[in-house]
């Protein structure tokens, strides 16, 4: 927290946000799908308007007119669904084979990416998916496209929970993970205010720019004034529809609504493009490639199972049984642990919380001897007293895998400590820190057994096999 406060105080003094990461920890694809959605206050499982598209073209806006006629409503959703499915699945045109859990899997070369303003938009997409999954229409083609759309949305909402994933890029989450401003967590949920702190216009200070930017909403909830205008326009449409049919009055009312939502969407759209463009230029973390690969496989598996889910939506489970919940929890915990290691290895700023809490040590390597028979011994001189007990295993951040270094001895030296670490197994000299360099030893490391293994091994170990 002291680091967070220090960075916030620096941001306060400088009048603009400061970076809390030296590299970019999430991928931003070259041509992702940008999406902005506006909530319908009457129905939390629907939206009033949804706009999406890629950066090279203007966004396509689809209006859900809130009609009580199921047919109109389904067709409006179907139009948006059709276009979204085309865009989202277009990333799978080229594929390659990968090994996945012992089988050859054909997966898209690049995963799809959907850039959204904030987490609230993601939750709205999840709710829309939840509703459309059960929607039926006399025309089987409409039902199929709605289910397909629902499957995509539900999968996106679920996949977004996985720490480190980048198929769904929520801009507020992304910016908050890479920048620190002098705003509270609550205010940081406003994409416009956050961006105002990061890039305040002209000589304006972040605070003033953020206050001015707060008059805009990035969705899905419009500002109260806009919600009232929307209600008035929807009221006019309802009135026109009562007149009967789809006459010019209805068209006029629909046009006014479209224009209104286009006006709400355009500043958000411009902001999303600006953020993606700027952040893409920041060098990416070295371990991003692994997470892109994981996303690619997840996207491929989702597309593989899509046909089955569309044909039989009963397969879509909204509530998990105990086993599925435990497996999911395990998956999320593994991903979170791995992400922490990867980010800390890629970025010295991400290692700071461990150093500040005293769980990791940093200092100059006085000596490092590598023996073919006795393993390796390193002596580290730290500027701060080391409070870690002898016997504790730590990993050098330059090679955080395999068996860890054990703290053998800690001796006080003025303000700091001299820490002797030993590595009992034979080591490759390249995986040991060189004398005279600075090194960080922390508990963060790559481990295949980060948590309890829930799947039994394919071949029973010899202890469990019947005697030959």
């Amino acid at each position: 927290m002291s680091l967070q406060t220090l960075l916030s105080a620096t941001a306060y003094r400088q009048g603009r946000a400061v970076r809390s990461a030296l590299v970019r920890h999430r991928a931003i694809e070259s041509d992702p799908v940008f999406l902005v959605a506006w909530q319908n206050g009457f129905d939390p499982f629907s939206c009033a308007a949804i706009a999406f598209g890629q950066a090279h073209a203007a966004p396509e806006l689809f209006l859900m007119s809130g009609s009580r006629e199921a047919d109109i409503e389904a067709r409006e959703f179907a139009a948006a669904a059709q276009r979204f499915c085309e865009l989202f699945e277009s990333y799978a045109v080229a594929s390659s084979r990968v090994d996945y859990q012992g089988r050859k899997l054909e997966v898209p070369v690049w995963p799809a990416q959907v850039v959204i303003p904030n987490g609230a938009t993601l939750r709205l997409l999840g709710r829309i998916g939840r509703r459309l999954a059960g929607m039926r229409h006399p025309d089987p083609a409409v039902t199929a496209v709605l289910r397909r759309f629902a499957c995509h949305l539900l999968w996106l909402a679920r996949h977004a929970d996985l720490p480190g994933q980048q198929i769904v890029l929520s801009c507020t989450d992304f910016l908050n993970a890479h920048w620190v401003s002098a705003m509270s967590a609550l205010e940081c949920e406003s994409l416009f205010a956050l961006e105002a702190w990061i890039a305040p216009p002209g000589r304006t200070r972040g605070f003033e720019a953020a206050v001015a930017a707060e008059r805009f909403s990035a969705g899905p909830q419009p500002k109260p004034e806009d919600a009232q205008t929307a209600a008035r326009l929807f009221g006019a449409l309802e009135k026109a529809r009562k007149g009967g049919g789809e006459g010019p009055a209805v068209e006029e009312a629909l046009g006014a609504l479209r224009e209104f939502y286009r006006g709400l969407t355009s500043p958000v759209w411009a902001l999303l493009l600006a953020i993606a463009g700027r952040e893409r230029d920041i060098p990416a973390g070295a371990h991003l490639a692994r997470r892109i690969e994981r996303d690619r496989i997840a996207y491929g598996l989702h597309l593989e199972g899509l046909g089955r889910a569309v044909a039989d939506p009963r397969g879509l489970r909204f509530r998990e049984n105990a086993r599925a919940a435990a497996l999911r929890r395990d998956e999320l915990e593994r991903a979170a642990a791995l992400l922490e290691v990867e980010e800390a290895i890629d970025d010295p700023l991400r290692m700071l919380p461990r150093l500040l809490s005293g769980e990791a040590i940093e200092g100059e390597v006085l000596t490092c001897t590598v023996s073919r028979t006795d393993g390796a011994t390193a002596v580290l001189c730290t500027e701060e007293p080391c409070t870690l007990p002898p016997g504790l295993a730590l990993w050098w951040s330059g090679a955080p895998f395999g068996r860890g270094w054990e703290i053998e001895r800690v001796e006080a030296t003025g303000a700091g400590s001299k820490v002797t670490l030993t590595q009992p197994v034979r080591k490759d000299p390249a995986s040991c820190p060189a004398a005279g360099t600075r090194a960080v030893f922390s508990p963060l490391h790559f481990d295949d057994h980060l948590s309890y293994a829930l799947s039994l091994p394919a071949r029973a170990p010899w202890t469990h096999r019947p005697p030959a």
Partner: protein, 381 residues
Amino acid sequence: MSSSDDIGEAPWAARAPRHSLTVSVLAAAAEHTDCTFSKLALAGRVNLEKLFGGTRYEPGTGADPMAIKRGRLFEEILKKDDYAELLNLLYEQDAALGALGADVRIARLRDLSVPAGRSGLEVRAEATRRELAKIARRDWDASTLLDGAVIRARIGGEVAYFEADGLAAASNGSLHVVEAKSFPLIDGRCDPVKLGAACAQAGLYAALVRAQLREDGLPSEAVSDTGFIVLPKNTRLGRPVLLRQNLSFHIRRAERLLSLAHLDEAVVQRIEGRSFPAAGTGAAERIEGLSHLMDQAGTHYRPECLEHCAAAKLCRERAYKAGRLAILGDQASREMSGVETFDRALDLAAGADPLDHERESARELVRARRLYRRALKGAGP
């Protein structure tokens, strides 16, 4: 819930625009009972929205009319066929409420033919009082469902009438608050913030009813700690579901709020000669007047105030200009104990001599600065 207007006037609010006390106003005030300025506004029923109207600190107000429409529709569904759906849910939920299934007496206090305005509310409040007394005394003709109750309470020394949106279900001398909300329960989960707000509202209703019973010399324990929140289940509005909630925390909090609404003499003396400005004065003059009052009374800005208080934007600016760490939130202030401002935090991080109460935070800041600088220089593996 809404209340009628006023008897008497607080001197510091004599010129200010006033508004009726509503449960949302009280619930909002419950979020900052540590702010004297806010307490003054509550006790004087000052309409801060109006006072800040037309200034650059104007709060974005007004609920989404479509969301209000959804709420009304959901209530209509619940009230259909003499509350049949709601009564079924209550019956299924609790065997102790079994009596509801057998002999249901509904007190429709909203439908009483009473004059509009304050006198009408007084009549309804009296009727509510009689019904509550019957329930507490376990009379044979006590109602099992109260709809449209009006409760009399003293806020800031003045009498106010609160009209309850919620319902109250009673059986065997015990009364349970039932609050209907239109946000959905999706696959067994709902928005915890909204659920918390609904429970706070139900807790306030329960606290007001308890206060009323106490005033009438009846056992306040008749109001149960267990309340019910009715929500639509999943995607359809027409399938309500009942959540059983323990409201004891919310009731205690509401009771504390009601007791705090009475201002200390010391606070009144501190602001002597100062008052909330009149709505008609110019924007700059109004803001100046409010700032002076804030200086004298004292405020306690937290980021959460932005969600509840109409004065929050001005408070935030004042806190920002003073460079107070409080603008980051309670956690930052707590963890940097003893350090009040950003400038001081930076000075301490740079090695300035800490005062006794700053020593711990200063040590952390110095370490954080040293490690941060080293990380920026590229010291790593």
